[in-house]
Each structure stands twice: as C-alpha cells, then as structure tokens.
Symmetry: C2
Subunit: 390 residues, 2 copies
C-alpha cells in the first residue's frame, strides 16, 4: 500500500513531552509547563453527579445535538454570563472543542476555500482545514496588534477566494483578548464579504482583567466554539459545544449524526453538573489562582531577562520572547529540558511568524513548582551565558 497522501506535521510539543516522560522514567524530576491542560481535578460535585447517573444506568446514545437539558443549561449560562438570549436549538454539544471544529469545518470548508487565521495560533486549525480541502492562510500578528487580527489586516488579506476566518480570544499561545471594537469590526467585515466567522472562545471564563466579549453579543450570524476543558477544567471528559446560526441548525444536526452520532453521555452529565452554581464558585476560585500564577510567572520571566511583549489577559499561557538568549527557541527548549528539567513549548508549534524567538509557558503548575522552575532556569541561563562567554 502506498504511504499516506495527506501529511500532517507532528506537534513539536509531543517530542518535548515524550522526552520529558523518558527523563522521568530515568528518575529525573521534570516541571511541566508545556501542556495546555489545567492541573486542577474535575470538581467534586461533578464526580458526585456522574456517579449518581451511572447508578441509574442506561448509558445510551443521546440526540446528536446533545441532551436537551444540557443545551438548555448552556443557554442559561449565556444568559447569566453574557446577558444573551440564545435559543438552545442553536447549541450543539460535541466531543470536545475538537468535535465542534470538525462539525464547523465539515459544514463550511469546501475545496479551494481560503480561511484566514492568525499566526501564532492553535496548530490544529490549519490541519483540519486542509483535511477538508481548504487552504489555511496564516496571517502574521504580533505585539503591535496584541497578537490579534485588525480590520486593516482583513482588508489587506481577504481575497475573492477567502471564505471565512477564525479568531481565538483569549488566544493560544498568547493569552491576549481581542477588544470589543475590533471584534465588532471583524464580524461586520466578514459578514459584508459574505464569509463565515468562527470565534474560538474555549478560554472564556479564564480572564484576568475585563471579560472577553463573545461574538454572539454582536451578531447571530457567527459560529462559536467553546469547551468544558479549560475554565471548567474537564479535559479528559472530552466535551465542548458549538453555537451556529439558525439557518445552519438542520445541517449541523445531520453533520453531527455522521461525524460522531453523539457526545458521550457520562461526559454530558458531567458538563451539566459543571454548570451548577456550586461548581461555578469553585471554578471562579481557580480562575483567581490562575491570575496569581500569571503575575508570578510573568514577573519571574521578565526578571530572568525574557520579554513578555503582550501581557496574557486570559487563558493560562505566557508567550515569552527569548531573543536575549538564543536565535533558535526549539533548540533552546530542548536544552532547557535536558539541563534544567523544565518542559516548555517552542514557538514552532504555533506558526511561522518568528517562532524561533518565542517560548510558550503554561501556568498550569502551582506557584512553588513554578518558583522551582524559575530557579532552575536562572541556573541554566547563568551556565549558558558563561559557556557562551568562553
């Protein structure tokens, strides 16, 4: 048989992660700041609720769009958090945000379509777009625009064959939040051009100053992706959701049936419990911990000589510039892992716009652990400096 036709580049972070695990098996202590996964456990009330559901027992397929009571609870969440009235019929529960992206790209991306996305950004977007026959056009964004699109960038890059755009706010890997004004401009622009707009809002809820606006505040003609993995801290359950315009409801239903039949029932029950008031208080407490960690990590990195050109306003990432120390952040990350036992993700995983200058640090470890990481980095940098001086 011939080799696979559609090549997908591996994530560099997997190489870091695998080597980290190897080092751990050899008895070395590794501090993990590379993974996009909260270190908090599933909230206790969620576990309690799922166990009750398991006892009652029929774990069957649900409707393709999800349990009606979960879709209603998500609609309530939009009412409480954003003061928005959203019909539950527009909400599709999916197997993780991954499932939501499959659902949307499956519906929206056709052969030859160009889709605009920001560089640096989440690497799966481009891979999935290619899988459905589209072309992902990565547009360099930097500190001067808070690592986000602007209307000027849309004007410049939106060609006749551009069919839509994706924007993640808070962003991975930078944690920056797009302003209300810019978001409104971008939505208006893509609507005028007859294109689609996907707002990746999976880091909503993890914000350290103002709230992120949801694209749904500005228009109903938008596709929104969200997840129970980040703010709700439930990665391993694999449950997320998509909101689609009214006119796409029927099509999304068919697409969901074909792509995944339904999201797992126990995970949907977990999601329902996570939306309860009891959980939300715990989750907001965790968000305050993340804010403290952010302040601690950013200050520590700056003190060591890293630059943080855009302060993360949400998510749990610092996209730090390491040009003071190296011209190759990938090689640098490897050496840091080997010599300091600190695992971080190099910029390479997020695009082609000067990735060699950047490292992504996740603040998904406790402050004492991050303190230890900073101490190790300090020692590493001192040795590295003296080695280069020789």
């Amino acid at each position: 048989m011939s080799p696979p036709l559609k090549n997908i580049q591996p994530f560099f972070v997997m190489e870091i992660l695998n080597r980290a695990k190897e080092l751990e098996r050899l008895g070395k202590d590794v501090i993990h700041l590379e993974i996009g996964e909260p270190d908090f456990p599933t909230p206790a009330p969620v576990i309690r609720k799922v166990k009750e559901c398991l006892d009652q027992g029929q774990i069957r397929y649900t409707p393709a769009a999800g349990l009606p009571e979960l879709r209603e609870a998500i609609a309530r969440y939009y009412r409480e958090r954003y003061h928005l009235d959203l019909s539950p019929t527009r909400i599709f529960v999916t197997p993780g945000a991954s499932g939501a992206f499959l659902l949307l790209f499956g519906m929206l991306v056709a052969d030859g379509d160009r889709i605009l996305l920001g560089d640096p950004g989440y690497p799966c977007y481009a891979n999935l777009i290619r899988l459905f026959g589209g072309t992902a056009t990565a547009i360099p964004v930097g500190p001067e625009t808070n690592f986000h699109f602007t209307q000027a960038l849309f004007v410049e890059n939106w060609t006749h064959d551009t069919r839509g755009a994706i924007l993640a706010s808070p962003s991975n890997p930078t944690g920056t939040i797009v302003s209300r004004e810019t978001l409104a401009d971008l939505l208006r622009f893509s609507e005028r051009r007859g294109g689609f707009f996907i707002a990746d809002e999976i880091y909503h809820g993890l914000e350290y100053a103002a709230h992120s606006p949801t694209a749904l505040e500005f228009t109903d003609e938008v596709f929104v992706v969200n997840s129970f993995s980040k703010y709700f801290g439930m990665t391993g359950w694999r449950v997320g959701w998509a909101v689609v315009p009214d006119t796409f409801v029927e099509h999304a239903e068919r697409m969901a049936q074909n792509l995944f039949i339904s999201a797992p029932l126990p995970s949907q029950q977990a999601a329902l419990a996570a939306l309860s008031q009891e959980c939300r208080e715990e989750l907001d407490q965790r968000c305050r911990s993340f804010a403290e960690r952010r302040d601690f990590l950013v200050a520590g990195l700056i003190q060591l000589g890293f630059a943080v050109p855009a302060l993360p306003q949400g998510a749990f990432y610092v996209y730090a510039e390491c040009s003071a120390f190296t011209v190759d952040s990938s090689e640098f990350a490897k050496r840091i892992l080997e010599q300091a036992g600190v695992a971080i993700t190099p910029g390479k995983d997020f695009g082609a716009h000067h990735p060699e200058r950047y490292l992504r640090f996740s603040f998904t470890a406790t402050i004492p652990r991050m303190g230890e990481a900073l101490t190790r980095l300090q020692t590493f940098l001192a040795q590295d400096r003296s080695a280069r001086a020789r």
Copy 2:
C-alpha cells in the same frame, strides 16, 4: 451568509424516531425496532470500575492513541478471540467507531478518490468519504451474494481511480457474514491493486453460527474498525478502536491528535473493564439472547408473509422484504408506525439498490415486546389487505 455547500441527506430513521417520540408524548405505546442500539444496560462490573476510577480522580487527556493498558487489553482480546498476535502500537482507541472512520478516511481518502462500498450498507460511510473529497461508489449487492462483495464484483468495478473499499461483516442492515474465502480473495485483490481495505468489524462478537473471520487473520496490510457499542453494549460511552498497518502508525497518531486529541478517559476506563473475563461471560450470555430473538423474529416475520432472503448470521438486524405488501417500504414504515405503533427503518436509509422492497427490523427488544409487535403487525396487515381489497 450563504447556505451550506456540502449537503448531507438526513437519515430517514430520524424522521421515524422523531414521530415515534411524538406519538409517545401523546400517550401511545410504540415498540422500537428501528434503532441500532442494544437494549441491555452497561454491564455492572463496568459501572463499578468507572466509579472507582472517578474516585481516584484525575480525568485528563490520555495519549492520542489511547491508554496504553487499554491498547494492550485489546491486543490480548485479539489473542484470545482470534489467536492473533497484534502489536498494541497498531491499535488506536477512538471516540466511537465514528472516530475510527474519521481517522481512517482522514488518512486515506484524497480528492477524487473512488471508494467502493456495498449497497445496502451503513449510510455514514458515503457521507464521510464525500466530506474528505472522495467519491463513494455504491455497488449493488443482493441475496445472491449474501449481500456482500465478491471478487467478481471487485473485478468489474475496481477502476483506475479506485483507491480502496470498505466491507462490513456482520453487515448492517443485513446481518450477513462474509465467508473466509471471499474475504481472503477481496483482501488479495485490493492489495494487488495497491488499494486500501477497511474491514468494519463493529458487530463482531454478535454472531449466531460460525464466528466472523477478522481481516487481520489474512494480512497486516488492512485497516480494521471495531467498537465497544454493539457486542459490549456500551453505545453511550462512545468508544471504539482502529487497527492500522505498521507503516501508518505514526501518521495515525498525528491524525488522532488533530481530530480528537484523545478519546474520553472515563469511557476508556469503561472499555478496559468491559474486556475483563467477568464482563465477557455476561456479554456472551447476551449474545445467546440475541440469537433466540433472531430466531423468534425471523420466524414471526416469515409467518406474516415477509421474506427474509438472507438469514442474519450476526448483528441484530433482519433485512426483510415487504414486496408482498407494498411497492414503497418508506410509506409502509410510516403507516405501520401510525397504525400499529411499531417503529422500523425503511430500506431507503441503506442505499439505492431496491430500498423500496426492504425494511430493517432491529431485534433490540425483548421477545415479549417483539411478540406484541408481530401481533400488531398481523392486525395491521389484515386491515391493510381488506382496505386494498375494497
């Protein structure tokens, strides 16, 4: 925004199902023989095990290919059941068999590729193939070939742009099992042509005479899909697996990372428990119940005047011919639901090869309930006959 570009036909069974639920809300009793979902609950040891895991608590992402211990347990299952030595590295745990199909089609189907599949067959295949830019070529198969491909059909239909084929055995909707000889021929043929072969084995374990051969007995250069939904009775957990050739392992890993990150952890823990000896005994008992139900339903349908041109040898479906009563099985199914309160799936959902002659009955109800369904059908047919006679 313009309407969706890629249209996917809805499943007719959803219309039946929605109407059935409407009738139930109006207080009518409906006997459900339309859905491809076992009526047995998740085995008790599985529930126990998952609850223990939930108590221990960290519900995190797993490796993209699944928990190592689950992949090893699946390899053991192949050893016990098929006397096959399979490397766990070739086994990918997926979010349902749906996830396995996405994984395989994502790797294997490129623009313009023709993929052969049997008609009647599972309708999602063609939709997913189209989604990835391929063309699904449905080849009519009938009772004369036990509703399966033969080598002659491959010879006749395998063109220069044919890139592969899918075969499900036991088949949905017919429950027929391909013979060892034919399967070996088909595998040899597609290998010689440099094409891929996907064996959908999700109904393995539910067999009522001889065991189904697995395609892996004949070659390592084959893609196999299986699931915990049918024999293991765990639909709502959404967990399945794919086996890929050695040369595809690395590519499948990347594809899995992009498509779904990982299957849900609680579902993987459930799957691990389902493979235990304790569960397997219960599952084999259920299989014997299905065998009794099959005999009961087939005999009952024949007595009523339906034809069953190929006895189901596995799965839980009877594909019954209703030409004695109607020239339009879809309209007939609707009337049966309205007048007799029995929900069944018309042939239309499974292809274009004389679907109007067939109805699919699932024996996923108890014998007393199916007895009641047969009684209602008898009354319905008598009334229908006398109405036509008038």
